[in-house]
Symmetry: C2
Subunit: 248 residues, 2 copies
């Protein structure tokens, strides 16, 4: 499993991903799930991925090969974000269909992957979408401007409470880190390092604000300790049930 | 979907369940998922259920019929909690096997149910277990003394942070209410009223501390408002990422 998320805010897009892969309990690995593609001053595109590692590696390799070989359709030639999403969706379908020809094998095997694609193409607003294993894609809504893939449930409540379109980028990134860290605590198939990237609207600078939080990073340690304590305080300040118990 | 949980604490057992059932978006209903069985001063047993409504109704009806007909094996004749769990497990298997004779139909249809069974039989300590759709069961660990069934992920992080064996019952129940309410917020297949029951160790009084929180219950409204505010404050007091951003 993996856990990745991205938030489309007024200032740009916040991306966050974990780095753990597992194919059974004795095949646990650390792999990068954030892939950045950039053509100076023209486009910056970021891909986050969750799902079958072989399929995602094949799709990313194919994207790079198409760029390298200057294929008619490649990540830099397509004019709109939706076309880029469709292109990646077709690559996903192509790769997974190799492995589901035999129905019987397919039932015990899941080659599917889900991508988050975000970034900006010059002349257009920043865009964000989730590409399903079936190849189609959706954008986030204005009311809920984030997208998640992988092990999404543990870390969703905090996003629902904090994230709005006008949330400042530092807050949105902090919220993403808390969301990923809480997920790591509740599910061992999500693990560090946490990769964080903020793409600032109209900057076309993919690495202006990028950092990686290892398990021993002082910020991660500080956030964990503080969150543990603050949540306890938040809980202790809730109204007591004593009145409800007594009412009976 | 459903969400039910129970916590085994030193003072007894806290039970909490939602009340929503859905068989598709236009078949949403309100059903009790908490069933109490009591023989005065001898045993108190509580069942929580998640899964297929037809199967769970059939199992509960069968339990009641066996009691009514004073069957050789019934909920009040079995001497140990583990035997009660095995008895219910066998009923579950019997009911579900009626519907999976035809493999093809089974693939598009899930008749499975999961139960939480808790309570006390005189002469024994209070006990808690989860009965799987396969009929077997597990007890909670001392380190993590709660069990969840149904839509469990959204509401797990708060339990991990608050619940210990020595947690007072008011705190454990408040934590359960927050866990269920957070889940209702993130997933529409979990809904009110929330049923709450505290079984006090050695009391053999199943309804000493029982209450139901409707969506409009003043306590639920107060907890929601307070939790929303307290979580925001907890989040705002986390260390800022500005230093990490600047470090680059």
């Amino acid at each position: 499993m993996s856990y990745c998320l991205a938030t489309l805010i007024d200032e740009g897009i916040v991306f966050c991903s974990d780095s753990r892969t597992n194919a059974g309990p004795d095949r646990v690995g650390t792999y990068k799930k954030m892939h950045t593609f950039s053509a100076e001053n023209e486009r910056t595109l970021v891909l986050l991925v969750a799902g079958n590692l072989a399929t995602s590696q094949a799709v990313v390799a194919r994207i790079k090969r198409d760029v390298h070989e200057k294929a008619g359709t490649n990540l830099y030639s397509l004019r709109y974000m939706a076309d880029v999403a469709d292109y990646i969706g077709q690559l996903v379908l192509g790769e997974t269909s190799k492995f589901i020809a035999n129905e019987q094998r397919a039932s015990a095997f899941d080659a599917s992957v889900t991508f988050i694609l975000g970034g900006q193409i010059r002349g257009q607003k920043p865009g964000l979408c989730m590409i399903y294993p079936e190849g189609n894609h959706i954008k986030p809504s204005k009311a809920q401007p984030y997208l998640q893939i992988g092990e999404t449930k543990y870390g969703k409540p905090i996003l629902d409470r904090i994230i709005r379109s006008d949330t400042p980028y530092e807050t949105a990134m902090r919220c993403a880190v808390v969301s990923v860290d809480s997920t790591m605590r509740s599910n061992v198939t999500v693990g560090p390092p946490i990769e964080c990237l903020f793409y600032r609207k109209d900057s076309f600078a993919p690495h202006e604000q990028y950092f990686k939080l290892d398990d021993s990073h002082p910020y991660l340690a500080a956030v964990r300790e503080s969150w543990e304590e603050n949540i306890r305080v938040a809980f202790e300040h809730l109204p007591s049930l004593d009145e409800v118990f007594k009412d009976r």
